[in-house]
Assembly symmetry: C2
Homo-oligomer: 375 residues x 2
């Protein structure tokens, strides 16, 4: 049985659709769009207590609580969202939505194109972080919320949070950017490109037309394995697995699994195939690659010049995917613009994944930060 203490309990994913097309950053128009979302807590009367939580690459709208009484796992940020947690649902109305291009209920490449009656596949347009945020704005408008108390996200969620503060300065009181970056580095792009190449080289990918057939499972699995290496620090891999053999005393001297770390990665890769769409992986990593606030706005200072929100930046000492130095530079730029900025680098061993695991320190920092925010 689930222990519902400090939990938002049983929740349901809801759907919001709009017919009118939106203008994408690529220049093309796209619609209709359905958005999958969940909410936790109650929206207050003047609609001033809403916090929008933004997920990372493989996340979904299900950020907290359970869908059924027999669920094995709660939502992906359940340790941070709930009564008396960092995002305290006694105080805040927390909204979490699956982003455009995903495969968890919001329109994406696996959705049916109403014009053809078939899944979009690679006829889905290439989208950006800004496009995702534009769709989220529609959802917030639908709630009649004029101003979000906060937008908050880790990793790619942090990129969306920054784009919110830039695109909708009047609609955001505070912005929390965690384990993220103002742009992807050459190394980040390189890892994404190898993952995409693995998917595209899988014969089952078939130019993205695999929805009536076997999906490119091995390509997607390899992409996920690469991702997982970058989410952990060398130190956490060492602590978790070291060079321990998997269920044996001697190596196999063949190509079966020898080491625990191999078993872990293969499991992560295979499990991902059951819950994720390979085309979505292509589109979302591309949206990340394109993310570069300096290039887009001319400079970081220019990007944020009209932002009116308070900012909280959190980085983790062993995060080598999005190294602390990058976000620290962003924080410094905002300080030079005389924005209200808090920057914390948390000494944590878990690498990039720390934003999902370092509950205590993040809770303390976020709770204090939110105390000072008024919608």
């Amino acid at each position: 049985m689930i222990n519902f203490e400090n939990s938002v309990g049983i929740v349901k994913t809801k759907y919001f659709s709009f017919e009118e097309k939106i203008k994408l950053e690529s220049g093309s128009d796209f619609g209709p769009i359905t958005v999958a979302y969940e909410t936790y807590g109650e929206l207050n009367e003047d609609k001033s207590n809403a916090v929008l939580v933004l997920h990372a690459l493989s996340g979904d709208a299900h950020a907290a609580g359970y869908h059924t009484e027999t669920d094995k796992k709660p939502g992906w940020w359940d340790n941070m969202i709930g009564p008396d947690k960092a995002f305290d649902t006694n105080k805040y109305f927390v909204i979490s939505s699956n982003f455009l291009g995903g495969c968890k209920g919001t329109t994406g490449p696996s959705s049916i194109n109403t014009e053809t009656g078939k899944p979009y596949g690679t006829s889905f347009p290439v989208i950006t972080i800004e496009d995702m945020v534009k769709v989220q704005k529609k959802l917030i408008d639908f709630f009649g919320i004029k101003k979000l108390l906060s937008v908050a996200g880790g990793s790619m969620g942090g990129m969306q949070a920054m784009e919110w503060a830039i695109q909708y300065p009047e609609s955001v009181s505070s912005c929390m950017v965690i384990a993220s970056a103002s742009k992807l580095s050459a190394q980040n792009i390189a890892f994404n490109e190898v993952g995409r190449t693995a998917i595209i080289s899988d014969p089952n990918w078939n130019n993205g037309n695999y929805y009536d057939d076997d999906p490119p499972a091995s390509g997607l699995s390899v992409a996920r394995m690469i991702g997982h290496i970058t989410y952990l620090s060398e130190e956490s891999m060492h602590r978790k697995f070291g060079r321990r053999l998997q269920d044996k005393l001697q190596p196999n001297f063949n190509f079966d699994i020898d080491f625990q770390v191999e078993s872990y990665l293969r499991h992560q890769g295979q499990a991902f195939v059951d819950r994720f769409d390979a085309n979505s992986y292509l589109y979302i990593t591309k949206a990340m690659d394109y993310f570069d606030l300096t290039q887009k706005y001319g400079s970081l200072a220019y990007a944020f010049k009209d932002s009116k929100s308070k900012f909280l930046f959190i980085t983790f000492s062993t995060d080598w995917l999005f190294p602390p130095a990058e976000l620290k530079t962003t924080a410094r730029t905002l300080i030079s613009l005389e924005k209200e900025v808090t920057y914390c680098n948390i000494d944590a061993p878990h690498g990039h994944d720390s934003f999902l695991l370092e509950v205590e320190s993040q809770t303390r920092i976020i709770t204090n930060f939110l105390k000072g925010v008024v919608a």
Copy 2:
């Protein structure tokens, strides 16, 4: 035309074969074996000036000079081997051999099994660094060399060099270990495992029986792309490519190549397919994964207790594949054993690849080190 100044000039790969089987670390016997090798400089009368150079994962026996007058590139360590270079061929007789399990002339999975008349494929035995060194010893015996003035290698070559100093303490006057490690870390194993999974999931791999058919080119290409990310530092990727677009001013908004770093990686992946055997990639990375001197000998100190050689360890500040700290620990252990040890950490931006690129500093260090070595 090639500029032959300071070059060993035109060289030829030679072959040495022996019929008797060797005892592999796995316990099985294996033979016959052919070894591809090259030599540069002249062996002196008392055979006391021989230096054995050991290559890395994708290297071969062709370490210096050119095979033909129209070659575009010299051997892989040509900047270090030649008249007046670090391995000065006016003084030393340099031997370079392709290791067991490779695909560059020495017996490996793509070689013909004389018993079946077909390529070994995955019937080739799983081999170790020690097995490779055992084969190299046969080559040295064939030359009638009792004691090598030095064994030297970068990356996986450094692992072979250490195993030489351990296995054949009477046969090695000095040992140079560059950009290497006394064991693979969990992260190292993880990267290797993803590369192997990419190869094995390629339908063309066909359990290793592809020699009459198309090879698993896309799997091997993905494996190589992953490798290349680990060979460069984030800094060198940033310097080399940054976020520069490939031959365009705006991103494509499709899945073609957008960034220079993508183009570079795809090129590296595809070029590798033309010159390397996928099965060899599996066997060699497995040999690396198994390399762990502490586990094998009980402790690092015990591993090296009988070694009689002088040691030179070189690491590079931005090498995150084999971080300096690991080899520094090995050097410290040898100092505690009162061995003669030189350890240098070179401040270099190129990551792991520095051992192929940092010519000046390595030349200075190696030249000085060799001055103090007497066979």
